[in-house]
Symmetry: C2
Subunit: 407 residues, 2 copies
């Protein structure tokens, strides 16, 4: 490994500092989008951008853009960034790495007195996780014009607060309309085990897999657990349990590329001796192939319907969104492979299992992503962990990618 | 049907009045034990007892005893009553019927200027439902010396409030120690369909079935739903789902007498794109036969353990309590059959599928129960409904049972 063009210690310190916002006892962060810890993290980020001499603006969806001017301000900017919000009791690096690495790129450009031709802009997208309002990639999707604004702003969190209301504290003056950029780069933890197993610090992400999310409501009949005989039961939780098993079977039938998960489930009335009358839960499937995802989308409602009929429970399945598989820009990928080689850093091509704001950025400009390993592939949990050396390697490649693209 | 010895309209009015406390939009009540609506209901009940000339005392567990003195105050009292707390979004009559019918018995004894030999006492037991602190028959079980006081008072509700803390507003000066009574009677809705199908207003309850309750915790590993391949998953919700299916299969294998229910389930962290790391849920089984319940208690942990091993999830199963099948007093049952015949009211013998405070009262005195039908057998839900005529029939039999026993 050659001498890196960034300051590894400063990067690591800034990551540790950011992890204080919403810190949990077990070393993770609980920083739901637009919650008090997220708002504090945004204010801290804004102050750091100002210290680095960046011009900060926020759009109407709370997306933050910190601009370093280029020699030719009229050129489309090179964008890079990620998100500061987290999962409930999530990890310190999912999202925060990409933002703080982006800040380190800006600081290093300053250190080296680099003047790029095109302007460069560091982005913090609002609510990437989807944990609070039940729909992921909210800020980038609104910006890209993918999510319908009125319906999206009306989405409620568990306390009945709408996204529109929550945005009051973070909303900026800039319209949330897409603009053309020269490129979008995002550094992120892999959230899987491929790089760790290959003992490589860098993954060049060739594409994001396709996914579909559903909201499901099973409606049975609440009744006394002690007196209601088997034949008279309409148990919404039994129906949900069998659908959970179906999702798992459908995933495993697709081999190691299959993904199928029920992550959220709420029982009503949720009392030990009441047969559940209603269960609300999420279902999501992912697959590298759009064609396979289409087959999943045809199969799931049909087979879940058979289960519901068998349980004598009504099942309502609403699709929240489908993301097609998103290939990244071949030219950018080739440039990044060369840059990694120039830096003397090991790398391999990799597929992203997660959804990222890059997917929506890619609607309006060329895009590409860089992954670094995370310990045991664990993410969306407090145990999420990375090595400082890998963070530095990823940030160095991000620096090179931005510098080479901005000219 | 002959002229009844009670005032049916006054009874019905008092039931409607009580249903105002914790009333829900859909016609049920949400009156968790010792919550503000339950405390208001208790205050209302206390005022009505005072108006009826009864001497009210509460014990250290909040159990309320309203006494009408007998000709010989030294005789053991005849007790009767039920509970005013409800399930979350529960029904208007589960518990409240027995208490308000008891009040009507007292009022009718006054109307007829009856002087009983033994004193008679109307009881409102604290937290029969077990919905708030996760353990049923709390007040009667503490009074009977069945529940260990320290551990029981330390049980927490969903907000972390202990039973001991919640009792502060309802605790009385009387020690919560059991005393001998001449008999205990309880009128309750059937919470099943037998009486309704038989077109009979009265069930003479011969015994309560055996039951066992468990708290179960499935501990897996929270991980990213999009990136974690099937082989690397430790999905606590998948494990719970298969245990729910096991409980249902075990119930159905016992035919129409089988009962097995998972009524309460909480997912952690409960986010759409996180594989659940932890799931906490209740499991309960009931059966008329103690021997069959013993077999269930041997089978369940073993088979659930196989599921957990298969899912690579750790499963902790804690038994909360076992209630043996409780037969009621044959002499009281015979007396009640005669009384029902004397009143010209149709009746049949019946088994109780639910647990009732009578079970613990029966530890210290002879006990018996009366059931009346409820519409479609629905209970523990807002649709719970009864006919005024059936309420009057049940109350008339309760009146006769109390009067004949108190002499």
């Amino acid at each position: 490994m050659k001498h890196l063009p960034i300051n590894s210690e400063r990067l690591w310190d800034s990551l540790c500092e950011m992890a204080r916002f919403g810190a949990t006892a077990k070393g993770g962060v609980h920083r739901l989008a637009l919650s008090p810890p997220d708002l504090a993290a945004r204010a801290h980020f804004a102050a750091l951008c100002e210290q680095a001499g960046l011009a900060l603006r926020s759009d109407e969806y709370g997306n933050m853009f910190a601009r370093r001017e280029g020699a030719d301000p009229s050129l489309p900017p090179v964008l890079f960034g990620s998100h500061l919000d987290s999962q409930p009791n999530g990890g310190r690096y999912d999202g925060a790495l990409g933002v703080m690495a982006g800040l380190e790129v800006m600081r290093s450009l300053n250190d080296h007195h680099v003047v790029t031709q095109a302007p460069v802009e560091l982005v913090n997208w609002t609510d990437e996780e989807g944990a609070r309002f039940g729909k992921a990639l909210l800020g980038s999707g609104l910006w890209a014009g993918v999510h319908p604004p009125a319906a999206t702003l009306a989405r409620c969190d568990a306390e009945g607060i709408t996204l529109g209301q929550a945005l009051a504290a973070a909303r900026g003056a800039t319209p949330g309309t897409p603009f053309a950029g020269a490129a979008y780069f995002e550094l992120h933890i892999e959230q899987g085990v491929m790089l760790e197993r290959a003992h490589l610090p860098l993954g060049i992400v060739t594409f994001c897999q396709a996914q579909v999310w559903y909201d499901v409501v099973a409606l049975g009949q609440a009744a006394h657990a002690g007196t209601t005989p088997p034949a008279f039961r309409h148990d919404a939780l039994l129906c949900a349990a069998r659908v959970i098993d179906l999702v798992d079977r459908m995933m495993r039938a697709r081999g190691e590329d299959g993904r199928g998960t029920v992550g959220r489930l709420v029982v009503i009335p949720n009392s030990s001796n009441v047969i559940p009358g209603e269960v609300r839960f999420s279902v999501e499937f992912r697959h590298p192939s759009d064609a396979e995802l289409s087959r999943i989308k045809a199969q799931f409602p049909r087979e879940a319907g058979f289960i519901a009929r068998d349980c004598e429970v009504a099942l309502a399945i609403s699709e929240i969104f489908t993301l097609p598989a998103t290939p990244f820009d071949p030219g950018l990928l080739a440039m990044m492979r060369t840059a990694a080689d120039d830096l003397g850093l090991g790398h391999r091509d990799i597929i992203s299992g997660g959804g990222h704001d890059s997917i929506y950025a890619a609607h309006h400009m060329k895009a590409a992503m860089i992954f670094i390993p995370c310990k045991d592939g664990k993410s969306h949990c407090e145990e999420e962990s990375i090595e400082p050396g890998d963070a530095a390697a990823g940030t160095a490649l991000l620096y090179e990618a931005v510098k080479r693209t901005a000219g």
